[in-house]
């Protein structure tokens, strides 16, 4: 069992206190998240994806602090700005972005770190993708792609999962089938999830806490 996955007692607090400017758009938020699954909810253009990008290290705030479980990822005061590959944050973008030139197994193993990553068999079993590991990425259905991308993020042994509209690209019946997998990640692996959505029903069903964003501000 991987060390990061076993820690049921570990504190899971995400500190987000940032100002980020992107052209004419300004994102400004100050919050602490401690729920197992937090939904980032708001209309398009409200800064949801930008928030995830800032946590993952893909965009740099002009000032503030980002910390996950007492580990500082960004701090303008202490001049800390960890590059994305040192942040241990699993990121699943909206288009899932499976590497098209690798099969499912190589996608899953891309971010594996010995001693940190969970067991591959456990992850593929939990997500029920064990039959898919030797398939080409292009041959997967929409729901399969979602689960493989989720598995790939989990295999890097992240201390936090960022999911950008994980259910937006799939139809309603499929959505019903994917929700339980996200709940399993929460309950079995105990990895906190911050996930972006603009669907109120989905948020009600899955999230333990909701952060409302509008025009770059918390409401």
């Amino acid at each position: 069992m991987g060390s990061q996955l076993a820690g049921g007692e570990a504190r899971r607090v995400i500190v987000l206190d940032i100002v980020l400017v992107q052209g004419a758009f300004t994102l400004e938020m100050s919050t602490r998240l401690d729920a197992p699954i937090t939904a980032l909810f708001g209309p398009s253009g409200s800064g949801k994806t930008t928030t995830l990008d800032a946590i993952a290290g893909l965009r740099t705030p002009i000032r503030g602090t980002i910390a996950v479980n007492d580990r500082t990822l960004f701090s303008s005061d202490s001049q800390i700005n960890l590059p994305p590959h040192q942040r241990h944050v699993g990121y699943m973008p909206q288009d899932v972005a499976l590497f098209p030139h690798m099969n499912v197994r190589r996608n899953l193993l891309y971010g594996r770190h010995p001693g940190v990553s969970p067991d591959l068999d456990r992850v593929v079993g939990m997500l029920e993708i064990d039959r898919l590991v030797d398939r080409r990425v292009n041959d997967l259905s929409g729901g399969e792609r979602q689960r493989v991308a989720l598995g790939r993020a989990l295999m890097s042994g992240p201390s936090l999962l960022l999911l950008d509209e994980p259910l937006a690209a799939v139809d309603v019946p499929l959505r019903r089938r994917i929700l339980p997998y996200l709940q399993r990640v929460r309950d079995d692996l105990k990895i906190p999830i911050l996930y972006v959505s603009h669907d109120r029903e989905e948020v009600n069903e899955l999230a333990d806490a909701v952060v409302h964003l509008d025009s770059g501000r918390l409401v």
């Binding site: 993952a56 994305p84 944050v89 699943m92 973008p93 972005a97 971010g111 770190h113 790939r152």
Partner: protein, 219 residues
């Protein structure tokens, strides 16, 4: 027979020039496609300069830099390396003249790669060099290969810069293009025509092989 010596010498020099231009060319292409840095515009112009400047002028510049009193030539002479009017000058001229085609083509390829793949790879813990080698380069591979073939083809036909910086020494620096000119100028039309046929054949085989590789890659 002299024709075959010239043909072999030209192909070998062009292959070596391609070998020499690919590592810096691919790196420059990636930096231009992906990074903002000071002096970027200068490098952009500099790399493309040999496309627009008369090749003879490029050759003259190389002669000034790599000649015995040139800034680089002086240093090389001290360690016993002569460049101008040797096969090394042929390779140098070919590499400089082929570089713009390689950089432009490879750069377009890198720009076509969805940067989400690179971002996800980084969040999975891959440092920049690993992202480049396992994601950017394989996904841009057809363009990089096409660029290398164009660079090689350009090198095969190089004339203006070569004749200035390497001359036309039979058996030492005389390439196909230079030999064709020398034969035609001295009225040896039969030999010139034979070399023209050899040139066309080599270029035909090279381009055909590149197309075949690209098609196989796409399948």
């Amino acid at each position: 027979m002299e024709v075959w010596q010239i043909a072999w010498f030209t192909v070998a020099c062009a292959a070596l020039a391609t070998f020499v231009m690919v590592p810096p060319g691919v790196l420059i292409a990636w930096f231009l496609a992906r990074r903002q840095f000071p002096g970027r515009a200068v490098i952009e112009v500099f790399v493309s300069l040999p496309l627009v400047v008369p090749p003879v002028a490029t050759g003259l510049l190389l002669l000034m830099v790599f000649g015995r009193r040139g800034s680089i030539g002086r240093i090389l002479e001290r360690v016993g390396i002569d460049v101008v009017f040797t096969w090394k000058a042929v390779v140098l001229a070919m590499a400089i003249m082929g570089l713009p085609l390689l950089v432009r083509t490879a750069r377009a390829g890198f720009e076509q790669v969805n940067d989400r793949y690179e971002h996800v790879a980084a969040t999975l813990g891959a440092p920049p060099l690993r992202v480049f080698l396992t994601i950017s380069l394989p996904l841009a591979w057809p363009s990089v290969l096409a660029g290398a073939v164009l660079g090689f083809a350009r090198a095969l036909g190089e004339f203006g810069a070569t004749i200035v910086v390497a001359g036309s020494i039979p058996g030492q620096t005389r390439t196909l293009a230079v030999a064709i000119y020398s034969y035609a100028e001295t009225g040896q039309d039969t030999q010139a025509l034979a070399l023209v046929l050899v040139s066309v054949s080599i270029a035909f085989v090279a381009l055909w092989a590149a197309n075949w590789l690209a098609a196989r890659r796409a399948a």
